[in-house]
């Protein structure tokens, strides 16, 4: 059995980790506990973060939404701020896991697990989210795309811990979409996922389009050069089909137990069209 610590401050977290370098940070546990069971390895201490003030809560200030890493997926769903300002994230949380998973799992856990299939990640990428990293020595803020370096890998080192997520509120002209394909309608790990932010003029001219793709590479993928090519074009099925075609050529999916690489490419080619489905 592992010892479970429930510190009330970051300082306590640092102290425990100093004492037990093998301690694991528990931010919900929907991934960590599964992995511990699968590997049969139990860290000496599990550090639960739920009692630390400042790691929970959703606030909006100066055009930036700040989300505590211990905010659960259900908290995101229940938040008027998220629904109003970050619709793409609201949609992603809706299709993440199942009700028990959404009540247990957290945004911080989803980020630090760094799975290319993590459902919040494409939304965070497309929103240009940044994350706050704290350690006894300092605090730093980096873009999400810098934070995650590979499947299951982040830049966290030593005593560092994720302490916040900052998301600039997009221009209200943007509409957000999250579309995901899994093996079934719930409790499904994404085979291909796509977050989109679109700004379209009343005359259907695309002013700005951003896309981030999950489960089609080692990390969530965005291609600024592709995104910029859509501005000025007319929004509609033809454009969305072209978006799919372009991304389908750029993504680098692998074959795994859930889907082949070729299926992922076929699905990606059509996925933008699902923006038209309400």
């Amino acid at each position: 059995m592992s010892e479970v610590a429930l510190p009330a401050s970051l300082e306590e977290v640092y102290a425990i980790r100093k004492r037990e370098p093998g301690a694991a940070v528990l931010a919900g546990g929907t991934d960590l506990l599964v992995r511990m069971r699968a590997d049969g390895k139990k860290p000496p201490v599990l550090i639960g973060l739920e009692r630390i003030p400042g790691l929970s809560g959703i606030a909006i200030q100066d055009g930036v939404v700040r989300i505590g890493p211990m905010v659960t997926h259900q908290n995101l769903l229940d938040s008027p701020v998220i629904r109003k300002h970050l619709a793409v994230m609201h949609e992603a949380a809706q299709v993440l896991g199942s009700p028990p998973v959404r009540h247990m799992g957290t945004i911080g856990g989803n980020i630090c697990t760094a799975s290319p299939a993590g459902d919040l990640l494409p939304a965070l990428y497309v929103l240009d989210a940044e994350v706050e990293i704290s350690s006894p020595a300092k605090k730093r803020v980096v873009p999400i795309a810098t934070f995650i370096t590979g499947p299951g890998r982040t830049i966290l080192t030593g005593q560092e811990i994720l302490t916040g997520i900052r998301i600039p509120v997009p221009d209200p002209g943007y509409q957000g979409f999250y579309r995901k394909v899994g093996q079934r309608r719930a409790l499904a790990i994404s085979i291909v996922s796509m977050a989109a932010l679109l700004m379209v003029s009343p005359d259907k001219t695309v002013r700005s389009a951003r896309f981030a793709w999950g489960s089609v590479g080692p990390v969530v993928m965005r291609f600024p050069d592709v995104e910029s090519s859509f501005a000025g074009r007319t929004f509609g099925p033809a454009l969305l089909a072209d978006v799919g075609r372009q991304y389908s050529e750029r993504i680098r999916p692998i074959s795994d137990i859930r889907a082949s690489a070729s299926y992922r490419k076929m699905v990606a080619a059509g996925l933008p069209l699902k923006i038209l489905e309400q």
């Binding site: 049969g40 199942s98 394909v181 093996q183 079934r184 309608r185 719930a186 409790l187 790990i189 099925p237 137990i257 859930r258 889907a259 082949s260 070729s262 299926y263 076929m266 699905v267 059509g270 996925l271 069209l273 699902k274 038209l276 489905e277």
Partner: protein, 788 residues
């Protein structure tokens, strides 16, 4: 759908001993045919009902099995010294420690409790370890050293039958061929030349995992009298007790098996799972109780699956649409051990003509050993595989001659008295015709073209139908016998000693319904004893849609006997009462001329104990038609006497972007005789259909080179409540003369037609057939792209 709170009664609260004492707010008898709230419902939803997994007796120790990492290997050496030296180890046992035959299985006793000379699949049990707790057990199991010499292995039936293929069971003269047989009528080969149209299909059917909530588990101990007592999650306690005794070398009367409610089974616990290991561990634990409870992963590796296989089916008809010739060839992969592979193949073969009259037929079946995980019984028992092929080819043939698929079926459907395509005379209840007619007249069928036309962008729609048939009971040779036992308790209540395990289908709750009806007693006057080989009478396995059919018949007889004894006793006690003026009423016997009641407890106190216990045995009638088949085909269950029938209809919508099939609506018209309990009937149909949908669309238990690839519920995809629509079950009632209250078993018929029904709808939507099931999004999309 009917709401459960409309049902009679409300709560069934088990007593403190968990003995299954049953209360209900209803103090009136609930006649068979109307809803009765399940006796097990309250205890299960409140967590008070104890499953085998819930048993933690004092002094408990744990046992675990070290399994083979190779699909086929000779065991060169087993070194247990390291494990024995581990802390908390109680025993480390090998095949050499077993005093009995070390073999289990039915009808073929070919599966070792622990491997002796070699292993035949990845996961074959080799060493059994018993330790103080689960962590110490894990450490000791890791310290067991087994040296193997890997042998060449075979992973598909075709390779296994090839000349020179490695042989799994060297003592078998047929090599890897477990079973082969033929059922034929007329001259099918010639008859095809007389057909106006012939269509053929080759269908690949996947392994399916039972995925019951409660994985294989039990506790066992040897008591002071040397009796090995086991509480275990099993469908077949009586057969298990004999198998355990023979395999471990102990007298059968020294083995007691108790089967509490199971947390699901679906055929996967029809026979030995952990029982051999539990018994062996208990014989070496110094009298302490031993527990085994498989993890989900171990369950996936070690438990049987639905037989994967290939069914090639050819069907021909004359110009007017009369079916004329059928040929079917099925080949199943039974894995490393026979299990129920022979009977499964025969059940499949015996249903290859479905619900149809066909003049000429030839059905060949084979079941083949491979170094894959063992296959076994699973709801439908070989029949879903064969109906999957037949019902798709029926659609193809109807299309070829330009007939509506439903009218085509109706034209060829059997009626009572007809001879089926396999020569079986339909002597008992059979009403597939009404099932089909109701489907034909349903708005979802009559309005299908309009619905299909309204498909949104990037979607294609299809509407499919299929029929199914399933014989109930064991067939003409293996006796299907049930023995009921019913006791009038001295407090005036009744106790039913269930002889058949209840794996969740509600058969033991149905016992209260049946006995209550015969004895005119309310449900709250009954308690249930779950199957216990020392207290209950052998009524065989919970299988073959025969649980309530057989035990119910026996219970009606036993209740009738007890009723007569009660009334006789009252007539004896009250010489002025005329026997014919006495009737049973709830809690009493009433003298009808003056309305006076004599309480049942008063009567019970006056009766001798032997008089208060009534038993009765019922043997199922069998089909005595003399059909020209080999003795083993007959023994394994061909032909049946009574059959259940169904017609399914579904609407599906296919996503052109992902290939996903969404089931939009699903209906099932079913002839399972008379309905005893409408809501339990509906649960069985819905459960069967959903499991069939899983088989059709998602569930694909993958094995590569003998090793399980879909190791857990994250990769083996079961449907969730989000994936299935409401399922409408419409009973088409008949009266089955051999069944209790006219019923036929309804546990399996729901699953048999789901795959072809969905496949037919999908084929209608996309214009061609995907013959490899399940019809996963990837398979559909790949086929769509290829077709484009």
């Amino acid at each position: 759908m009917k709401k459960l709170h409309d049902a009679h009664g409300a709560t069934g609260i088990p007593d403190e001993k968990g003995e299954g004492h049953f209360h209900t707010k209803s103090d009136l008898p609930v006649p068979v045919g109307s809803d009765l709230f399940r006796a097990d419902a309250y205890g299960k939803v409140t967590g008070r009902e104890r499953y085998a997994a819930d048993e933690y007796p004092a002094g408990l120790v744990y046992a675990g099995v070290v399994r083979s990492p190779h699909p086929h290997a000779r065991i060169l050496a087993i070194d247990t010294t390291g494990a024995l030296a581990c802390p908390g180890v109680i025993a480390v046992l090998t095949g050499g420690d077993i005093r009995g035959t070390n073999r289990t299985g039915l009808p073929e006793m070919d599966q070792p409790v622990l491997a002796d000379t070699k292993v035949r699949f990845t996961g074959d049990p080799v060493v059994l370890v018993v330790a103080e707790d689960r962590e110490l057990l894990r450490q000791a199991m890791a310290a067991v050293k087994v040296t193997y010499e890997p042998l060449p292995a075979v992973f598909d039936p075709d390779s296994a039958l090839a000349k020179g293929a490695p042989v799994l069971h060297e003592n078998r003269k047929e090599g890897n061929l477990l079973f082969s047989g033929v059922i034929a009528k007329g001259d099918a080969d010639f008859a095809f030349s007389e057909c106006a149209a012939v269509r053929e299909g080759i269908f690949s059917l996947p392994r399916q995992e039972h995925a019951y909530l409660e994985t294989e588990t039990g506790v066992a101990k040897v008591d002071g009298d040397g009796v090995l007592e086991m509480i275990v999650s099993t469908q077949s306690p009586f057969r298990d007790s004999r198998e355990i005794a023979a395999a471990l070398g102990i007298p059968p009367e020294k083995v007691r098996v108790i089967a509490p409610y199971l947390g699901g089974a679906f055929g996967g616990k029809d026979g030995i799972t952990v029982q051999g290991h539990l018994g062996l561990a208990a014989l070496h634990s110094g009298g302490r109780p031993v527990k085994i409870w498989n993890s989900r992963e171990e369950s996936f590796v070690s438990s049987t699956k639905r037989h994967p296989g290939r069914v090639s089916l050819k069907l021909g008809c004359t110009k007017d649409g009369t079916l004329h010739a059928l040929s079917c060839r099925l080949i199943f992969d039974t894995g490393a051990y026979a299990g129920l592979g022979g009977p499964v193949a025969v059940y499949g073969m015996g249903h290859a003509a479905g619900v149809y009259r066909v003049a000429h037929s030839r059905v060949e079946g084979m079941n083949v050993y491979t170094n894959n995980p063992p296959s076994g019984a699973f709801r439908g028992f070989g029949i879903p595989q064969v109906i999957a092929a037949l019902e798709q080819v029926v659609d193809m043939l109807a299309e070829s001659i330009g007939m509506d698929p439903l009218e085509f079926r109706l034209k060829n459907a059997i009626r009572v008295g007809d001879e089926t395509g396999l020569g079986i005379r339909m002597s008992n209840s059979a009403d597939i015709v009404t099932c089909l007619e109701k489907a034909r007249d349903h708005p979802l069928w009559t309005g299908r073209d309009e619905w299909i036309r309204q498909a949104p962008d990037y979607k294609r729609r299809g509407v499919g139908i299929a029929t199914g048939v399933l014989g109930i009971g064991y067939g003409p040779v293996i006796p299907d016998i049930a023995s009921a036992k019913l006791e009038l308790l001295t407090d005036g209540r009744f106790r039913i000693y269930a002889g058949v395990a209840d794996m969740g289908q509600g058969n033991n709750s149905a016992n209260i319904h049946i006995a209550g009806d015969v004895l005119c007693q309310s449900p709250d006057r009954f308690e249930l004893v779950q199957p216990d080989t020392f207290r209950c009478l052998n009524s065989s396995s919970s299988a073959a849609s025969r649980t309530t059919y057989s035990y119910g018949n026996a219970l009606i007889l036993a209740a009738g006997v007890l009723k007569e004894r009660i009334l006789d006793k009252v007539a004896q006690l009250h010489p002025l009462f005329r026997r014919e003026n006495l009737i049973l009423v709830p809690g009493a016997v009433r003298h009808t001329p003056d309305g006076s009641d004599i309480a049942l407890h008063t009567i019970a106190e006056a009766m001798q104990e032997a008089d208060r216990v009534a038993t009765a045995t019922w043997t199922a009638p069998v089909n005595r038609q003399q059909l020209a088949v080999a003795p083993d085909v007959k023994m394994y269950g061909f032909p049946h006497l009574a059959y259940t029938f169904t017609t399914h209809l579904t609407r599906v919508e296919i996503d052109e972007i992902t290939g996903a099939v969404a089931v939009d609506a699903y209906l099932a018209w079913t002839d399972a005789g008379r309905i005893m309990n409408p809501h339990v009937y509906e649960q069985q149909i819905q459960g069967g259909v959903i499991q069939g949908m899983g088989y059709a669309l998602w569930e694909d238990f993958r094995v590569t080179e003998g090793a399980v690839v879909t190791k857990n519920l994250s990769t083996y995809i079961l449907p969730t409540s989000m994936d299935v629509p409401d399922i409408l079950s419409v009973p088409v009632e008949t009266y089955e003369e051999s069944g209790p209250f006219g019923m036929k078993g309804v546990g399996e018929i729901g699953i048999v037609a789901a795959l072809p029904c969905i496949a037919n709808a999908v084929a209608g939507a996309i214009g061609f057939r995907v013959c490899d099931a399940p019809l996963t999004p990837e398979r559909i999309l790949t086929a769509l792209r290829r077709a484009a």
